[in-house]
Every structure is written in structure tokens, then in C-alpha cells.
């Protein structure tokens, strides 16, 4: 009688305290669970397995179709290419092709292929396999984003015999060998290409490389397993040992702030694109290593709009170059982890001309004298220089990645010191950036790309080039750029690219800031961390994991 009624009535009292009790219990539960988990953390399964942190989720994984540099990180080791570039010397060395020869007229290249190579699915590698790959890449239905472009003026092939193939060109094309050394022209198994459609092959890729693709779960992981049969690697591939990595699991660390945390917590054993601001801290950790890997190609830079006043005037562009303290920017934003850039190519790119380094030292006084000469001055004493009543105001467009916003802010403050006002516009993604470029609605715009082959410059600096956002046009420069692609002789090309680089800087088409450096972090137990000539792609074959 008494019990049931009073129990029911007393319940709310306990409910009132219950809130606090639940909270305490939750906390206690969490603590117990954490302790239990901590005990369980150490018994990790053995085996040579590493987790590799990728930094962006590639838009697609098929090297013949898709364009990202990131996809090469796993897939450079799935495929072999006909030719490799030696990572140290940048020279071309044999890959799946043992020898190659250009016809005297430069219109065809003949490749003698290795005879001892099989794809991961057992299909033998031969000239027909190369032909099947070329057929696929040139098929318009595939809509190849990069592979096709790398073939340049390619017109077709002739299978000479089972292990010899000739590629035909409509005009001489020196960058062909570089294209053939990139993962985008990796050789895929013709059997797998037949079995899967253009859209589904990317989940079932089959190459001849030192690793096999075991699993792709888009947005989550890519798992590679070592190919025990592999015995046809280029000279710079190491022999397999007990400490070779058997399994590589790739995961996507798209948020830069979590990368160093993932490395410190041993969630990954190797990861790229660490924040420069995290490096100092990581260097103090003896369990970890940081590698600075320079990326050849264009530096991190801003193009001047040469079609819009006032940056259409050479004197103004030159003044802006003199007014920029690049050393200060590199020290402040990139913690000195990257070299200062001086020209349209970075110093590790073949045919780089160091003569550009002497141009445009930081000299704000000279910058102001150039502006004075162009008719500018502070007539209304408001701190901003003007001419004919027009204040010297510039618009700068840049994306949010690679610390570009911090770079832009420093430039803004440096230029304000000499009386130039800069409006900063930060865009969230590439399509928005491109739309500003196409509308010409800017004075400076951040844009760059990577690559070992200096002909990369063509799309950015030739009149009407697909990515010529500066709108610059110089017929003599066009001639040099065109000729450098046709000439195979390295000396001739070097001379042409020297002229190109000097002309671009004399004309102040671009404001180079820093040479791109990929800050990679690894566990100290990992040896043999070497990257391909292109800079982005690790040689998984050479990794050695000490216990």
C-alpha cells in the first residue's frame, strides 16, 4: 500500500538528481572505456603495412582519364611506363621500353619493349598491349583529361613486331618522352580494359607495376599489395627485402590541420602537404621525419592582367615586382621551408635559367621611382598614389589553398607602404577562380601548375594559350616556345628556354613568390623515402619499414 504510492511519488526526486547522476556516470564510463582502449591500443597486428595520408580526394582515379597529381601517389606504383625519368638526374631511363629511337625527321619514335613483363592478371605485356592503351586514350568517348594532351601531335602507331612499336607524330615533338614517363600514360592490361567499361575500369585497375590494386572504396581508402613477381623495374627501383612494405593503405586527410596530428598519433606512417607552421613542432619529435620535396613546374605565383589598366603598363608591373619582399613572405608564411621563386619555372625544373635570380631585388624606393616615372604621385595626400584623379587600386584574386590568402595579405600590406591599395578577393574553388580569369576582372590572379617538362609554359604564355590568363602576347616569345617543343637537342632547347624565361621576367608578366615544396612527414622507422622526378609520386617499391 504505502510502498507503491510513495515510490511512485518519490521517483521525481531521483529524476531531479538523475541528471547530475547520469552526467557523472557518463564521465565515469568514458574514463573506464578510455583506459580499456588505451590498454588495447598497443597490440597492433604486425606485418609490413603502412597507412599513407593523401591530402585531397581525387575527382577520379583512372590515370588515362583523370588529371589530379594526387592520383599518381598510389597509381605510379600500380603501373609501369614505357620510359622513366631518373629522380636524381631527371634523365630518361628504360622502363617497359628497353630502347627508343627517333626517326631523323622527328616524326616517329620506335620503342623496343621488354619481353619478360606480365600484367597483374597474367596477361603478357607486348606491342599489342601498348596499342590497346593508345587506342583507349585517343578514343574521344573516353574524354581523356591529361593523357591525351601528353601525347601532343600523336597521329597513330605501327606495331612492327610483337615487341616493337612505332608512334607517329604530325610534327616533331620533344616533350613526348616526358609524357610517356608520367603515370597518365601508364600501361594497363588490355584484358582488363576489355572486361570493364570506361567508367568501371577505375575500380579494377591492372598494371605491371610493383604494387597491385587490391581495393578502392571512393572517399574512404585505396589498398595496394606488393607484386611478388615484379622484376622489371627501372634502375632506380630497389630490390625487394624483408623490410619492403607489403601493404599500403591510402586514406584521405583533406583537412590540413589534422595531418600532423594523424602523424603524431601514428594513424598514418607517411603523409604529404603538412602545414609549414606544423613542421617546427614535428622536427622536435624523434619518432618522426619531415622531408622537403621540391615540385618542378611553375612556382606559386600571381599572373598580372596585361590587358587591364594599370597593370597593362610595363612600368607598373615592374614596380610591383620591386615592391614585393618575397623573402619576407616566404619566411613568414612558409616558415622558410620553401625557396623564394624568381622566374616562371622553379629551380629544379630542367632548362631553368638562374639568370632570372638577379632581376627584381626588393627595392621599394626604386618601385616608387618607376611609378613616378609613369606619372603617379600622391596628389591628394591620402597615402594612396594616384594619376589623373584615379587612385592606384588593384584587385587580387586567389584561392583559399596553399596559404595563398596569407601571401596575398602580406603583399597587400607591403604594397600599401608605397601607396598602392589592393582589394583582396578570395575564391573557394577552381571554377570560381577560372570565371574571374575568363572575365578579366582582376589585376593579379594566383594560378600555377606542376610538371618536369618546360613546355608546360606554352599553355600559360603563348598567345591564345588555353591558360594564358595574363592575356600576354609576344610573337617572338611564341616563336621560341613553339620551336623549343620541336627541337630535341637539349642544348638548343636550353638556349630557347633561357630566352623565354628572361623575356617573361623582363616583361614582368608574372609575380613569382615561392617554389612549391611538398612537406612530407613519415615515421622515423620508414627508410627509402624517394619521390619520382615529378615530385609528387613516392617510389613505394623503395620503402623499407624497420620493426
Amino acid at each position: 500500500m504505502l510502498t507503491s504510492a510513495s515510490m511512485r511519488r518519490r521517483l521525481p526526486v531521483s529524476l531531479g538528481v538523475l541528471g547530475v547522476l547520469i552526467a557523472i556516470l557518463c564521465l565515469a564510463g568514458v574514463v573506464v572505456a578510455l583506459l580499456a582502449l588505451r590498454a588495447g591500443l598497443d597490440d597492433k597486428d604486425g606485418g609490413n603495412r603502412i597507412v599513407y595520408g593523401l591530402t585531397l580526394n581525387p575527382s577520379g582515379f583512372d590515370p588515362h582519364i583523370h588529371i589530379s597529381n594526387e592520383l599518381g601517389i598510389p597509381f605510379y606504383s600500380i603501373y609501369d611506363t614505357l620510359i622513366y625519368r631518373h629522380p636524381q638526374t631527371m634523365d630518361f631511363v628504360p622502363g617497359l621500353a628497353e630502347r627508343w629511337e627517333m626517326a631523323p625527321d622527328g616524326l616517329s619514335w620506335t620503342f623496343a619493349l621488354r619481353r619478360d613483363v606480365t600484367f597483374h592478371d597474367g596477361t603478357p605485356f607486348n606491342a599489342q598491349a601498348v596499342a590497346a592503351n593508345l587506342d583507349r586514350i585517343t578514343n574521344p568517348e573516353l574524354a581523356s583529361g591529361k593523357a591525351l594532351a601528353l601525347l601532343g601531335p600523336y597521329t597513330g602507331y605501327t606495331v612492327v613486331d610483337d615487341f616493337t612499336i612505332t608512334l607517329h607524330l604530325s610534327e616533331p615533338y620533344a616533350p613526348l618522352l616526358d609524357g610517356l614517363s608520367q603515370v597518365y600514360l601508364g600501361m594497363a592490361s588490355p584484358a582488363a580494359l576489355r572486361e570493364y567499361s570506361k567508367n568501371t575500369y577505375q575500380w579494377h585497375q591492372v598494371g605491371t607495376g610493383p604494387y597491385r590494386l587490391e581495393e578502392i572504396v571512393p572517399g574512404d581508402r585505396i589498398i595496394l599489395r606488393r607484386n611478388p613477381e615484379y622484376a622489371w623495374g627501372p634502375v632506380f627501383y630497389a630490390e625487394a627485402t624483408d623490410q619492403s612494405v607489403d601493404t599500403v593503405e591510402f586514406r584521405f586527410y583533406t583537412d590540413p590541420a589534422t595531418r600532423s596530428l594523424a602523424l603524431e598519433s601514428d594513424a598514418v606512417q607517411m603523409i604529404g602537404e603538412l602545414l609549414p607552421t606544423d613542421v617546427e613542432l614535428l622536427l622536435g619529435n624523434t619518432q618522426l621525419r619531415v622531408l622537403r620535396v621540391p615540385i618542378p613546374g611553375l612556382p606559386q605565383q600571381f599572373f598580372f592582367n596585361t590587358k587591364r589598366a594599370p597593370t597593362d603598363e610595363l612600368a607598373v608591373r615592374q614596380a610591383l615586382l620591386y615592391a614585393t619582399n618575397r623573402t619576407e613572405i616566404v619566411d613568414a608564411v612558409f616558415q622558410g621551408q620553401s625557396p623564394v621563386a624568381h622566374g616562371p619555372l622553379t629551380a629544379t625544373t630542367p632548362f631553368y635559367d638562374p639568370a632570372v635570380e638577379a632581376l627584381y631585388p626588393f627595392d621599394p624606393t626604386f618601385a616608387q621611382s618607376l611609378l613616378l616615372g609613369a606619372g603617379y604621385g600622391d596628389s591628394d595626400n591620402d597615402g594612396i598614389w594616384d594619376r589623373d584623379g584615379e587612385p592606384l587600386r588593384l584587385t587580387m584574386i586567389f584561392p583559399s589553398w596553399n596559404q595563398t590568402p596569407e601571401v596575398a595579405q602580406l603583399i597587400q600590406s607591403e604594397w600599401r607602404d608605397i601607396g598602392i591599395e589592393v582589394e583582396l578577393i578570395r575564391v573557394p574553388d577552381f571554377p570560381t577562380l577560372r570565371s574571374y580569369a575568363l572575365e578579366g576582372d582582376f589585376h593579379l590572379i594566383a594560378f600555377y601548375d606542376f610538371g618536369v617538362e618546360a613546355s608546360l609554359l606554352n599553355q600559360f604564355y603563348m598567345t591564345g594559350g588555353a591558360n594564358n590568363w595574363s592575356g600576354f602576347s609576344d610573337s617572338e616569345l611564341d616563336g621560341w616556345l613553339h620551336e623549343a617543343v620541336r627541337q630535341v637537342d637539349a642544348g638548343t632547347r636550353a638556349a630557347l628556354y633561357s630566352s623565354v624565361q628572361q623575356r617573361i621576367m623582363e616583361q614582368a608578366v608574372v609575380l613569382p613568390i615561392r617554389e612549391y615544396v611538398n612537406l612530407n612527414g613519415t615515421t622515423a622507422r620508414l627508410d627509402g623515402v624517394i619521390f619520382s622526378a615529378q615530385g609528387w609520386w613516392p617510389l613505394l617499391r623503395n620503402l623499407q619499414l624497420r620493426p
Binding site: G19, L261, D429, R434
Partner: protein, 307 residues
């Protein structure tokens, strides 16, 4: 009741259609499309870029694209990704499980923690447990998920090293993201619970009960019965926050899921993928709301509308 349910489901479908149409229009108002985001980047010639755009149907008049898309959706076909060529339904399907696991466990954490904090703050105002609970709830509401998540990762995986580092896959790697997201969900649940308790406590019937000489325990009993009802609605509302919260949480915690799929699709201007996710999210959200309405009506007959 049948008519009531039918009304709510109809409303949910209408909301999904509006969301789909809004997504369709807004996406096309943004600069650039999938061809700009991918092919055009590599220096491909303008002619080839235009041909590709034509082939993908992006050059068609807007009304035709809309009609084609809507026709597909009605037939249950969400289209194919413009970038990978994968069917959108398949892409969402692959990513739905991890997101549901994250959102579900975060909701559990959020409701448990939120109710506990709310009860403490509502029943013990101006006392230590009440102050504490209110403080924690305010923190949960005011700190950005991004910040708490980074802090939690640093604390639990690096300093204390009691949890595995961020990544997807193992169930243990769900603990931290669910706790962080749940913590933020708890904030508003706690505040609504506490406010509702206080509002009820100030009502006449409570004063009458006290005047009648009822013990404080019985008064609390009466208060709770009335005041916990609005919490159902707020829990349903929190699902909206959770669906948004998973986008950030998945990125930071390196988890597979619909949120990350959406981020990547936006970067690539992969219209069909974005539209598919927006439509399904709107549908899920409004169906859950319909469910909450029905539950609410079951719990409190006053809510049932006539007609």
C-alpha cells in the same frame, strides 16, 4: 489520424521537390561547371572543352536539363556523376552507412547528454549543478564543431593517446567523432529542456499544486510530465544540425560519408551528385519531421488538428 499522416508525408515530398529545384537553380548560378573544374584545368583547348560540355548535356537550355533531371528522379534515377561516371544512387548508397552510423550515435550521445544537462539546469537553477550544466550547454552551442574536433583529436589521440588516430573503418574510430558531434547536439537539447522545465514551473497549476501543500517531489513530477514534450520536437530539429555537422566532422575525422562526398562534388561542380544528396537529405529530414509530428500527436492529443 490516417489523414494527418498523409498530410505530413505529402508535405515532406513537397519539401524535397522544392529543395531539389532550389539546388538545381543555385548550382547553375554558381560560376563554372564540371568541365571547368576538371578538363579545362589541364590546358585543354577551348574547342575540346566545348565538345565535352555538349556531350555531358551541360550546353542544353536550362529548362531541358531540369525536365530531364526531374523526369529521372520521378523514375527513381538520380543520374550519373559528371566526373567519375558512377551512378549517383550508388555513390550515395556507398556512403550512407558511415554517415548514418555517425549521425545516429551522435544523436544518442546528444540526447543523453542534453537531457542530463537540461534536467540539471532546469531543476537545480541557481545552484552548482545548474550553473555547471548551463555552462557546458553554452560551450556546446558557442564553440564551432571544427575547433572542438581538432582539440579532441589532439587531446585524445596525441597527448593522452587513448584513442586511435583519425580515420574511418574501425568502430573505435567512431567514438571521437560521435562524441564531438553529440556534444554539440546536446547544447540546444539541454537549453530547450531547461527552459521548458522553468516555463512549466512558473505556471499556475504548479503554484496551485504547491498551495495545495503537495510535496516538492510530487510538484517536480507534474512539471516534468508537461515539460518534456517539446523536447521531442527539438530532437527532430537537431537532425538538421546533425546532417550539416557530419559534413565538417567527416572531413576532420577522415571518415567516409555523404558529407565528404558532397564537399568533393561541390569542388568539382558535379551537379547530379549535389542534387541527389540535397534531395535525399531534404526528404530524410522532412520525413523524420513528419514522424516527429505524428509522435507528438500521439503523445499529446491537443496537437491533432481537426479537418
Amino acid at each position: 489520424m490516417g489523414k494527418f499522416i498523409l498530410q505530413r508525408v505529402g508535405a515532406a515530398l513537397a519539401v524535397a521537390w522544392i529543395a531539389l529545384s532550389a539546388a538545381f537553380v543555385v548550382l547553375r548560378a554558381l560560376p563554372g561547371d564540371a568541365v571547368d573544374a576538371t578538363l579545362a584545368r589541364t590546358g585543354t583547348s577551348p574547342a575540346e572543352v566545348a565538345a565535352r560540355r555538349q556531350a555531358l548535356g551541360l550546353a542544353d537550355p536550362l529548362w531541358r536539363q531540369y525536365a530531364a533531371y526531374l523526369g529521372g528522379v520521378v523514375r527513381g534515377d538520380l543520374g550519373e556523376s559528371l566526373v567519375t561516371g558512377q551512378p549517383v544512387a550508388q555513390m550515395i548508397g556507398q556512403n550512407f552507412g558511415p554517415t548514418a552510423a555517425l549521425a545516429g550515435s551522435a544523436l544518442l550521445v546528444g540526447v543523453a547528454l542534453g537531457m542530463a544537462l537540461g534536467l540539471a539546469a532546469g531543476l537545480a537553477p541557481r545552484r552548482a549543478p545548474g550553473w555547471l550544466a548551463e555552462g557546458v550547454a553554452a560551450l556546446a552551442l558557442s564553440m564551432p564543431v571544427y575547433w572542438t574536433a581538432t582539440l579532441a583529436i589532439y587531446l585524445f589521440t596525441v597527448v593522452l593517446a587513448v584513442l586511435p588516430g583519425v580515420g574511418g573503418g574501425s568502430p573505435r574510430q567512431l567514438i571521437l567523432p560521435a562524441a564531438v558531434l553529440g556534444f554539440h547536439t546536446a547544447g540546444s537539447i539541454a537549453q530547450v529542456t531547461a527552459r521548458s522545465i522553468r516555463r512549466t514551473a512558473a505556471q499556475d497549476f504548479v503554484r496551485t499544486a504547491r498551495a495545495k501543500g503537495l510535496g516538492e517531489a510530487d510538484v517536480t513530477d507534474h512539471i516534468l510530465r508537461v515539460s518534456l514534450l517539446p523536447v521531442i520536437a527539438v530532437v527532430a530539429l537537431q537532425l538538421g544540425f546533425l546532417l550539416g555537422g557530419t559534413v565538417v566532422t567527416e572531413s576532420i575525422f577522415v571518415r567516409q560519408g555523404v558529407g565528404r562526398l558532397l564537399l568533393a562534388a561541390i569542388d568539382n561542380r558535379d551537379f547530379p551528385v549535389i542534387q541527389g544528396i540535397v534531395t535525399l537529405t531534404a526528404l530524410t529530414y522532412s520525413l523524420i519531421h513528419a514522424l516527429a509530428d505524428v509522435l507528438y500527436a500521439l503523445a499529446d492529443p491537443r496537437v491533432r488538428v481537426e479537418g
